[in-house]
C-alpha cells in the first residue's frame, strides 16, 4: 500500500484534505491517525486569521458550500499543534495560505525547522479570501513566480494545490511545475453560491463559497486525468471522494495518492475505511501495489481505440 510522493514515503495513499480535518486532534479520538498516509492540516497563514462572518456553510445536493475564509490560529500557534501531531508518527503536510508571496514565505520560515513537517501544500486556490488565494492560482505567470520564490525558501517538498476555477487547469499545472513544484494536488473547491428562497437572500455572508462533496467528483476526476497527463510530477487527487471506490477511480485516472475532505464530516471513519477498501480491492484483483493501478484507466483507454470499432473513436 506504500506510495512515495515528492520524496515522502506514505504508508498508504490516503490523506485527510486540508480544512476538513483541523490539525488532526478532533479526529484522533475516532481512530489512530497512523492509519492515514498523511495528515494535511488546516490552511495556515503567517498571522492569526479570524475568517469570514457567518453563515459560512450551506448544504447542497450531494455536498456543501463553505466560506470559512481561512480561519486559523496563525503559524506560531500552529507550531504547537503540528508538534503535537508528531506523537502519531504520521507524515504531516502543512497547507500554506496567504495574501502575498511574502506571507506564504513567512509561514514556511516559521515552520521549516520542524522535523514533523514532511512537506508543504501551497494553497493557491482558496476561493474564499479577497486577495491572494484563488487569485494566485489563476494566472500562470504569478504561479511560476510564487513557486520559484517558495522553492528558494525551503528544501522540503512543495505540493501546489490547484484551483478548478480556471478554463484550462493544465496551463496552471505546467506553470507550477516550471516554478519548481514537486507534486500537485487538485482540486480545491468549485466556486458556487446558494440562495434562500424564503428569506429571499444569499445564504452565505460571503455571498460565494467553495463547493465540495460527491457532487464535484466528476469534475475532479476529469482534471486529475488532464493534469496527470500534462505533467511528470505526481498528482494527489481529491474532490468528492467518499470511499474506496472513489479513491480507486482517482488512482486509475492518474493520481498517485488521494485526499478525503468533506466526507469526514459525514463519516469520521471514512479515511481508514478507504485505506482498507483500497487494500481489499488490490488483493481481490491481483494487484501487488497501489502503483500498479495509478493511471491504469489511461492505459486501458489507449487500448480501447485499437482493438475494435467500439469505444474510443
Amino acid at each position: 500500500m506504500t506510495v512515495k510522493i515528492a520524496g515522502v514515503s506514505l504508508a498508504n495513499p490516503v490523506m485527510s484534505a486540508s480544512g476538513c480535518f483541523g490539525y488532526g486532534e478532533e479526529y484522533a479520538s475516532f481512530f489512530d491517525l497512523r492509519r492515514l498516509g498523511a495528515v494535511v492540516v488546516k490552511g495556515t497563514t503567517a498571522e492569526p486569521c479570524a475568517g469570514n462572518p457567518p453563515p459560512r456553510m450551506a448544504e447542497t445536493t450531494g455536498g456543501m458550500l463553505n466560506a470559512i475564509g481561512l480561519q486559523n490560529p496563525g503559524a506560531v500557534a500552529a507550531r504547537e499543534k503540528i508538534i503535537a501531531l508528531q506523537h502519531y508518527s504520521v507524515p504531516v503536510i502543512v497547507n500554506v495560505s496567504g495574501h502575498s508571496a511574502a506571507q506564504y514565505r513567512a509561514v514556511i520560515e516559521l515552520l521549516d525547522d520542524l522535523a514533523a513537517v514532511a512537506a508543504y501544500e501551497i494553497n493557491i486556490s482558496c476561493p474564499n479570501v479577497k486577495a491572494g488565494g484563488m487569485a494566485f492560482g489563476t494566472d500562470p505567470a504569478v504561479v511560476v513566480g510564487l513557486v520559484r520564490e517558495l522553492r528558494g525558501a525551503t528544501k522540503k517538498p512543495l505540493i501546489i494545490k490547484l484551483s478548478p476555477n480556471v478554463t484550462d487547469v493544465t496551463v496552471i499545472a505546467r506553470a507550477a511545475v516550471e516554478g519548481g513544484a514537486d507534486a500537485l494536488s487538485l482540486i480545491n473547491t468549485l466556486l458556487g453560491m446558494a440562495i434562500d428562497m424564503e428569506r429571499r437572500r444569499p445564504v452565505l455572508a460571503n455571498l460565494t463559497g467553495g463547493l465540495s462533496g460527491p457532487a464535484i467528483k466528476p469534475v475532479a476526476l476529469r482534471m486529475v486525468w488532464q493534469v496527470s497527463s500534462a505533467v511528470d510530477v505526481p498528482v494527489i487527487g481529491m474532490g468528492g471522494i467518499s470511499g474506496a471506490r472513489d479513491a480507486v477511480e482517482f488512482l486509475m485516472a492518474g493520481a498517485s495518492a488521494v485526499a478525503i475532505g468533506a466526507a469526514n464530516f459525514t463519516n469520521p471513519l471514512v479515511c481508514p475505511e478507504t485505506v482498507e477498501g483500497i487494500s481489499a480491492y488490490l488483493a481481490e484483483n491481483g494487484f501487488a501495489s497501489v502503483k500498479e493501478i495509478v493511471g491504469l484507466a489511461k492505459k486501458e483507454w489507449l487500448k480501447m481505440g485499437d482493438e475494435s470499432g467500439c469505444g474510443k473513436k
Binding site: G19, C20, E26, P54
Partner: protein
C-alpha cells in the same frame, strides 16, 4: 472521548403533529445541553448529519425530541424501533450550574427540547426552578404536561392566547428575572434569546443560552458553525465551544 455509535432505536413516538420523540438503547451518557450528530441516511444524501439535542438521559439512555422541518428530520422520523441509528456524541458543552439556589428557565418552541433535561438536572441539584414555556399556540407547547409535572413554578405564553397568557414568553419571565437572584437559562429563537440576555444583563443575572447554527462536522474541525463573540477571538464554534454560551459573550443576530 468522541465516539461513533450505532445504537438501537427503542421507541419512536409522534408526540404532536410534526414532532417526534425518539428513545435510544443504552450507550451514551450525556449532560444537559449536549447534543448528538445523527446520520439520517446511509448514503451521502442528504450529505450532512443532523444535530439534535439531548432531551433527556437516564443511565446512558438518550431521548431526543425533534420537529420535522425538512428532509433530514423526515428521514429520521421514518426510522422505526429496532433499527439502529448512527450518531456521534455526546458533543458540545453543557449548561453550567452556578452557586445560585434559584434558576429561571425560558423556552421558545422546539427550543424546549434540551431544557427538559436541564430542568431535571437543576431539580436534582436542589435548585428552585421557574420555567417559562412559550410557543405560537397551544399545539406547539410540545409535551406541556410533562414539563408542567416537572416544575412547581410553571408558566405558559402563546402568541394567539390559545394556552397560558397571550404574550411573548419574555414578558412573562421579565418580572421574575428582575425580582429573583437566579441564574437564567434559555433556548429558543434568536429574538427571544436576545431579549432574555438583555433582561439578564439589565438585572445583573448570570445567563446561559443554547445557540443553533448549521453544523457540518460537529466536532470542531470545519469551523463552519461559528457565531460572533465579543473580544479578541471574534468567532467561536457552536459545536464544541457551545452550544451553550454565556449570554454576555455572544452577539445576537
Amino acid at each position: 472521548m468522541l465516539k461513533l455509535q450505532k445504537l438501537e432505536i427503542i421507541k419512536q413516538e409522534s408526540v404532536a403533529p410534526g414532532h417526534q420523540r425518539l428513545t435510544l438503547a443504552k450507550g451514551i451518557n450525556a449532560l444537559a445541553g449536549q447534543f448528538v450528530h445523527v446520520r439520517v441516511s446511509e448514503t451521502y444524501d442528504p450529505f450532512l448529519r443532523r444535530p439534535i439535542s439531548v432531551h433527556d438521559c437516564t443511565e446512558g439512555r438518550l431521548v431526543l425530541l425533534y420537529r420535522t422541518v425538512g428532509r433530514g428530520t423526515e428521514l429520521l422520523a421514518a426510522k422505526k424501533a429496532g433499527e439502529t441509528l448512527d450518531l456521534l456524541g455526546p458533543l458540545g458543552n453543557s449548561f453550567p450550574l452556578t452557586d445560585r439556589p434559584q434558576a429561571v428557565v425560558v423556552a421558545g418552541g422546539i427550543g424546549a427540547a434540551p431544557l427538559y433535561y436541564l430542568l431535571r438536572s437543576l431539580k436534582l441539584a436542589g435548585k428552585q426552578v421557574s420555567f417559562f414555556y412559550g410557543a405560537r399556540n397551544e399545539a406547539e407547547l410540545i409535551l406541556r404536561d410533562e414539563y408542567r409535572a416537572l416544575v412547581a413554578n410553571y408558566s405558559e405564553a402563546t402568541d394567539d392566547g390559545s394556552a397560558g397568557t397571550r404574550a411573548l414568553v419574555t414578558h412573562l419571565a421579565a418580572p421574575v428575572i428582575a425580582g429573583l437572584d437566579a441564574t437564567v437559562y434559555a433556548c429558543g429563537p434568536s429574538p427571544m434569546l436576545k431579549e432574555v440576555a438583555r433582561l439578564a444583563d439589565c438585572y445583573g443575572r448570570s445567563c446561559f443560552v443554547s445557540l443553533e447554527a448549521q453544523l457540518a462536522c460537529g466536532v470542531g474541525a470545519c469551523l463552519g458553525c461559528v457565531v460572533p463573540v465579543k473580544g479578541r477571538e471574534k468567532y467561536r464554534r457552536v459545536c464544541v465551544d457551545g452550544p451553550v454560551f454565556a449570554a454576555g459573550e455572544v452577539f445576537f443576530c
